[in-house]
Point group: C2
């Protein structure tokens, strides 16, 4: 079994994890979790979304959270930006790494951001032009429903390739493949990664997985075997998808970190401290958590 | 990714799945579930345990369940036998495939069956002698805590090899490796399988996995890639381990079947009918189920 020596886990709990939670989480709670995750050794984090505060009140504190994150030494901070306005707000807050998310199918993208894929790609052009003019800025593209769509089923690789090619032409260095509704199989992950890496050897490919059907860690394994060294995950398995019936959260950072470290893959994250972050999430945000490792940890009466 | 064309799933819900449930499940309920699973296409099943009815009242109906299972055409029926007395009862009931379980560590085996590993191997000698004298009988050995023990941590491969060698010398054809407390990693599974297959090319290796830390399907994948074509699982993810704090059930048959079929691996099982078996378990046995696919199925209001 060929596995990487080191993997980077990007914590997305504060963004993807909180986006769909019923209530707005107070900024103090977010900052407490941010610092606890940093204390556990997390060094890459998507901390917020510079979406319209009217549309998503959860992220009306985007500037405050971003600034607090940027104050932590050696933390690689990223933020979601829906459009040029979001990019400008993120840049003003000091963020230098931005992610634009585009759904791989029209049906999903229309429900998610009210645009066709073509319209989203046009908007990406505008955002990329803005980013290019900003020194030190780094734009990534996240492809939602990259493997399967709740409306159209299995997503053909061509739909993903189209977005990748477009983004590459704009100078985008990192692409995150999102299994938004947790339907990707390890075989599909392996095939997709191999095809994309063959066409774009210098592309930074990230996997953003959900554990809806229990395949989350199997897909992490398939990704590792295919050469992926960067995974998104959320503490406690926070998160979900409003357009995916029965969908559960992101793969739990505790579960990913546990499996990788148990296979001697370096992540730089302290598992016990991470589990205590999970406990914090349970205590101050929500008890509805899908983390297997956290359940074991709490079940022990730890 | 090298995967097998066909995999056999052995359903163990009626045995391992019910062993630790608080209440005795009525025999009519067991037979209903047995027939539903058979109707979904399950053709290999561990249906009961011929343990002392005084020690485990859950299996005081072992004869009735075994006879009902044996009446189903082309169903490959097996039963757990703790000792020679259990073998004799199973044989009288018509069962021809028997499994003896031995823990890989003394600490676990002593708590489980009040014997050291050496004592269990001696008892295996006696059972094997009985089985050899019975025409058409097939003895398998299940190794519990084959990867990790709740008392002694990671189990060295030598402890597994010792039991395998002993069983092979007795003519045992199939060995099941049990990750009783759900701590095996895909790398450990791959390494263990490779070593055992190299030493015993004609051995039938079975993986018996639990999903305690979310690695259940990742380990199925690692097993498939290493050449394993037989897995134990329990409908609804039933089961657990009394000596493993926080341990959850067996990997859910629905989750295993879904992942395998989604990768075009043939199992012969109808996923929708299987999900309805999961619903039956929820309705008539217990609602505390760890099956991801069943949660999606029921969440859809199906």
């Amino acid at each position: 079994m060929r596995l990487p020596a080191r993997v980077t886990i990007e914590e997305v709990g504060l963004r993807d994890g909180l986006q769909l939670i019923g209530s707005v989480v107070p900024v103090e709670v977010k900052l407490r979790l941010l610092r606890a995750l940093y204390g556990a050794g997390i060094r890459a984090m998507e901390v917020t979304s510079f979406v319209s505060p009217k549309a998503v009140p959860q992220f009306s504190d985007a500037e405050a959270v971003a600034r607090a994150a940027l104050a932590l030494p050696h933390l690689d901070v990223s933020a979601l930006i829906p459009n040029l306005r979001g990019f400008e707000r993120a840049r003003e807050a000091g963020v230098r790494r931005y992610t634009v998310v585009i759904g791989a199918t029209d049906r999903f993208n229309e429900r998610n951001v009210r645009m066709t894929v073509t319209e989203s790609l046009e908007q990406l052009d505008a955002v990329a032009a803005g980013v290019r003019a900003a020194p030190g800025a780094d734009l990534a593209v996240g492809i939602a429903v990259a493997f399967g769509c709740p409306y159209t089923g299995r997503v053909p690789l061509g739909a993903v390739v189209r977005i990748v090619e477009h983004a590459r032409a704009l100078g985008v260095r990192a692409i995150s493949l999102g299994d938004t509704i947790g339907v990707a199989t390890p075989l599909q992950v392996a095939t997709t990664i191999a095809r994309l890496m063959e066409a774009h050897p210098d592309l930074c490919l990230v996997l953003h997985l959900h554990d809806t059907r229990g395949m989350g860690l199997a897909n992490v394994l398939a990704g590792c075997e295919a050469g992926v060294t960067r995974f998104d995950s959320a503490v406690g398995g926070l998160g979900g998808c409003p357009f995916a019936p029965g969908a559960t959260g992101n793969i739990a950072t505790e579960d990913v970190n546990h499996m990788l470290q148990a296979m001697d893959i370096e992540t730089g994250i302290d598992q016990q401290a991470l589990l205590e972050c999970g406990r914090l999430v349970r205590d101050v945000i929500t008890a509805e958590l899908a983390s297997h490792s956290l359940r074991v940890h709490l079940g022990r009466g730890a």
